[in-house]
Subunit: 480 residues, 4 copies
């Protein structure tokens, strides 16, 4: 009897960050952060944490699990608390899991500082080595420890300058929420790989959130996105903006394809609208004559409705998702293939029987789950299965915060579309074209996106020869 | 800081039952039951249990929580186990919660017996009193203890006769899976209020499940529904059927409207098909000229796709459901109305802004949640909101296993449709007509359903004057 | 890696019972019961429970573990609570552990009743069979369920009469605390195998406790022991006494040798005094010329001080007991004999080196632990080891509530004193003579004790041929 | 209802450290460390941790609670593990408890290093400030983080030199076990405030332990004490010794009075022997004519037996200690003074009634518990109570690892012996004289001890004016 990971057929994004600053007597900054993390839970389900301050004392509570598991008994609270930051994380199952949760909280010469980070640095190893050579110790295996060490080492006078200087040494993807004893600071890397936005409630409550859905849940008004290369500093004087680097927007297109919640608006483009468009473009690119359009729930839903809208083919539920499956389940002794998928999804026979079906999914990583779903639909009586993917084939690894593991696991890196189609057993298979995808992003300007996993055009020059250097487990690697 | 029930705007069904009998060397009867309970989890999320036997020893493991919480560390197992039954329950939060979990396991003169029960008895109080008068003690507050006491008291020779005799004394709704040291027994009340079906794998593995989705998850083949008034006995001689009472099918129509999973087929009618039809009839009854059809996820999804199909109005996602909310969350100190609903649902502004929206939900119980959703859509910019409910107004309480609590909480029992519409703030409100609903059920015959919560036509004469007699807390009542 | 039971070289007593009745506004009856169970914790460490009533409602909380584990988060409480009973239990590690915890709480025709039981019945199987034959079911495998069924079946008018009638059908050892909605009842079997006493605080608070140390902890005054064959009923009219059977005191002598706390006084004889006397008699019986007297802590301490007092040989600490060992520990992968004993005890080399040592222990059950201790002392340099046991050899099984398991495990049942001495490796071995033991008990009268485990003189005629009938696992036995 | 700390009337020592290095195929270094920590559990009960390495990988597991709670489910293990270190800690209940557990494990330029520390540094604040000024961050509030930062900052070539250099910058009390990927290192401060010894099994297994009882539990042979100012380095070449500072032994005398286990031998003097001597000297200093000698269990036991030995007055148990009380218990609603003490201790009336009693305890800190015990004995009938303390009055705070909190809580700092005697209600009170105590330590040489808490003669000059500087909470202090 052993336990099995039920999720795991999707790319994993690293984190969600949040922050609240409020002088309002009614505001409960830790409570709002807790609600915000609930709304950002899809960005990381393995650990959660909240740090708070009252201006003198600073405290952090972190744990493994979902927000409602970590804060099962109580939400952190402090009298007169007025700043809080929070973090949810998709984490590795490693030896030192709890140590790697965030926000990080440290003492340095300037006082206490807490930091929450979403993203992946591409020169962390180099910086870490340099810092170690001058006597720095590292207690975790996360990139984020590099930030606080650089800040602590900075000779600049103010915390704003210290942070600016540090960020200029770092390459890669990062959105940060940082808390000192009297400031809430947000920063976004110059490429803007990951989203970060600012909201407010009344005149005295400011919120930073990875996605706008984190503003909605606390009833905040969207103010604006944090610009690439921008740092915002919130204190009793209000919000100040600093441009610490020249912006060159290269937002990760997978935020729109899969990661972000459909009710979020990122850099001015609605995730729902983008996905709906992907479905419409897919319909135009394929022009299948099918009886029904179905979705692989939930990530394919929006594109499926767009496909149905454009094609006129009815959109019906063909697959049911079990909402009660936890992240792992114990495999019964009876060895049964496909159990995990069967537990999570089931085909609705009465909906698909005898039908020609267009099935929409957002991406194919390894292809094994897709194959199981296709078999499930065939067993339920589907006559034809045309699979449509609302993204191009993924052929390059990601260095900026997505766990694509090794390139050889990416089915599209080693097989042609025809081979993949055969592997998963569909009657036909279509991936959204890169041009089609860019068309859906036209509101942002086609050049303001990172499409590197599709075309290898990495926005930051990859200095390192060895791919292992960018592997996120690098700091846990064994000696040879 | 206090915790809040996040779910709770829906009717609650009481239970799901399961059973496996297998002489196959490969079969893992407790593991299959565990998978089956996963598939039936929507029928009860507050406790779960599995009882197993190897023919000599019998054992039961029960606990509070979801299947993956109760069996977090291991699935019950016994060498040479060949029969197992399981149970999931929606339970009250009472003083003796754990004592009330199922399956019940007892010793009596005939040996050991375990029993899992879905439903609600209408004469349990009377039988209990009679039994107590002759010296019976009761250790739980659940109906199901009545069954085992009646069976133990029976003077009949065989366990089949004992059970038959007992069932004939009982009125109300029940589907049972019963396990002795060498038999698996299933029984369904004469009205067939709740579903129960039989499946098999190969020639030597038999399965009983509340819904057919519990067969799919273990790869079993659907054999047939258990008939109302039928008891099936499975042992090494195969399956024997006994008719212990004259059947008069009165299946609960809410199984089709809301309770059952859309991929289940109950008494020959697909739940998905029934719901899709409800959406189609709603479209014909309303004939709204709207821009989009949206659903209150997830229970409104199937009917919404049916409405879109029939009306030609595009079906789009207008509301996002947060999948990570547990059953309760801690209310932050800041008092904020609507927080629980906001956590669970959010409107997609880009989908609904400026649009005339048809919104489909399955039912309205108290109306408070519907009102919050309507406000949420208005704030997101919806121009018009036409709410369509895929069931008639609920005006009568249910005595057969649904927690409708007191009649005065049912908004439709005290308000007209116009008043409800005003209360929830929609532009218009339409409930599916009873005739329309019956049309959707035509495959089963219009008279083979219990519509009592809509029209008061209870299939069993209600003898008791006092409604408290049917209250499920009756056995926990305080003395005056 | 597997876990190991650290305790387990001693006889196990079954239970401790407690009860409080108070109309005092200051009294907190459940809180007092919680403190009382702490004081009785040595009588049972595997489960604990408290039942309370306010006169209308009755509630029970039970769990596996020590009192401070079961009530880790809160002590049960009810507004206007005025009666409470409690129970601690040494329980088997079986399949249905939680179900077997006490107090038992049931509904019957007379209302609600809770019951806590210390002891072991010798005709439970017969009564159980009779009850089953007339249709009674049993949900646990504990004797105590027999009591409540007999009470519920009684045709007598009052609860006092029902209980009296039931007790007269039962044979064996029992001390009971029983709670109805308005009475606290205590009863002790006619032989008085187990202790039970009555205490009070002021005029309106009455307490029942297995031992007088349970009175001390709540600051109560000792009133008197409950007589064998006596039932006391406490309600608003005060304390009434009923003699339900002719008393014939046969108190278990092991209560004085090992089970009870030395600060308790049972039936007028101080446990400390009795043990001190045992040490003195041992000294007179042995007359060893040794350098020091040491004790196997903690159960040998009192007798060791008595030995030192009588002999004039100095009493020093020769063995240290580790106070932090839980009931089980995980065995490291390295297989090491004696680890469990070494963890728990260590010899003090500087105290024993080169010395002739008299070592006092209370009893020898299997002899393995004694052997390990002797080796430990030898390794620490002890020159001579004279082992003195403050009880005679145990050669007969106990049927009245002590887990002596099978007779063949009792080393004294199969080996002579010389053989045991050789087995454990001591230089000499002396068991307290039965006459010597009786001398220590002279205050109670030599005939008022049960010495059956030493001489086979069972106070109740043993009808049953098969010893299995008296095995406490009998209700869990497999079919052949 | 609130919980109460049951312990807390004694000084608290900070920690126990352990380490194993073994190339033996049979050795299980983490399992041995786990057993060793069990034996050192009395030195710290609030957290525990074990770090292991196989030469390439290093891992640490830490948690709050006792050893058997932290490693409830499994002992850490790694294939081919051959070095392990462990730590038990008495910790503050602060905000960042888990973060402050040990061993600390960090990455630095030299690889991975783990460190476990017993003691208290007197110049940690100064070093910390210096380090922070050059950009070091601190993630915990424990002294021990200073060590690893100094080591990481050292420009020396070898790890031995780095550690030596670092230790020379540090003042105060420390015993360390340090693990690199291929060495086990032990170090003891030049004053040798805390004990540390070396043991071995066969030729290839070396053990470091705070006390020799940690060698006994794994069956190791005592080799020698680590010298003050000595560092030992164990690797495949065996054990090498380095003298990093001039030794000036000032062992904490309280190790002998109270902290260490009586079966340990520290720096050549048996703890049991020292305590026995204290009892003998007490007898000579007092010469009471009493009926019995009793002990406040367990810490007074050894001295009490020494007093009885010297005086010829019989030693009997006068107080019983409840072994089942956890570290905290929930205070019932009824407010009862003395409940915590009553739960833990009870007087044995039959032993003390009418007697003149000499009662031995090891120390008096605040005096409140002593007063409660005296009242308890009076209530149990003791005629006269002569209290003897096996240490002089504590009048000065400790800066080297004992939690004496503020000086004003020390009753002896503000009251004369007569006033204390009156406060606790004894008939007479005697503290062991400082000369008497020194006499007991004569084996070590009278100058080789730290008696600063009695006479203020601190072995290290206290530079800091403000006592807050030495408070262990200093790193958690709020800003003004």
């Amino acid at each position: 009897m052993y336990s099995v990971e039920v999720e795991g057929n999707k790319w994993k994004e690293e984190c969600g960050v949040y922050g609240v600053y409020s002088r309002s007597a009614e505001a409960d900054v830790s409570g709002m952060t807790y609600l915000g993390l609930y709304a950002l839970q899809h960005r990381g389900q393995e650990s959660a944490g909240i740090a708070i301050t009252d201006g003198a004392w600073m405290d952090v509570t972190r744990g493994m699990g979902l927000v409602n598991e970590v804060f099962r008994h109580q939400v952190p609270h402090m009298d007169n608390q007025y700043i809080a930051i929070g973090h949810v994380r998709y984490s590795t199952t490693g030896s030192s899991m709890l140590a790697n949760t965030q926000p990080l909280m440290v003492n340095y010469s300037g006082g206490k500082i807490s930091l929450a980070h979403n993203g992946n640095l591409t020169n962390a190893t180099e910086i870490r080595r340099e810092l170690e050579e001058t006597g720095t110790i590292f207690q975790t295996t996360i990139d984020s420890e590099v930030f606080v060490n650089l800040i602590a080492r900075s000779r600049k006078a103010t915390v704003e300058e210290k942070i600016s200087e540090s960020l200029n040494k770092i390459e890669g993807a990062y959105c940060l929420t940082i808390m000192t004893e009297n400031k809430l600071i947000g920063a976004r890397d110059p490429q803007g790989f990951r989203p970060l936005c600012l909201g407010k409630i009344g005149d005295d409550t400011w919120i930073l959130s990875s996605e706008s859905c984190g503003l909605d849940v606390v009833g905040a008004e969207f103010v604006r996105d944090i610009e690439p290369g921008e740092m915002v500093v919130i204190d009793d004087d209000g919000v100040k903006s600093y441009k610490f680097a020249e912006p060159k927007l290269n937002m990760c297109v997978f935020e729109y394809i899969y990661f972000a919640r459909p009710d979020s608006v990122l850099d001015g483009l609605s995730v729902h609208e983008a996905r709906f468009e992907m479905g419409r473009v897919l319909a135009r690119e394929t022009n299948y004559k099918a009886d029904i359009v179905i979705s692989v729930p939930d990530s394919g839903n929006t594109a499926a409705s767009g496909y149905a809208y454009e094609s006129g083919i009815p959109y019906v539920e063909g697959l049911v998702k079990n909402r009660y499956i936890g992240r792992t389940f114990i495999q019964p002794t009876q060895k049964k293939r496909d159990t995990a998928v069967k537990l999570k999804l089931n085909a609705i026979s009465s909906a698909v029987q005898g039908k020609s079906v267009v099935m929409i999914d957002d991406s194919i990583v390894r292809g094994t789950t897709s194959g199981k779903i296709v078999r499930m639909l065939r067993n339920a009586g589907a006559r034809e299965i045309h699979m449509c993917i609302s993204s191009p084939p993924i052929v390059y690894p990601c260095y900026y915060g997505i766990d694509t593991s090794v390139r050889k696991e990416l089915i599209a890196a080693t097989k042609s579309v025809e081979e993949i189609c055969e592997y998963i057993g569909a009657d036909s298979l279509h991936f959204l074209s890169l041009d089609g995808l860019k068309h859906c992003m036209r509101k942002l300007g086609p050049d303001h996106m990172c499409y590197a996993c599709f075309d290898g055009g990495y926005p930051i020059e990859q200095k390192s020869a060895s791919p292992a250097e960018h592997d996120k487990y690098v700091f846990e690697q064994r000696k040879k």
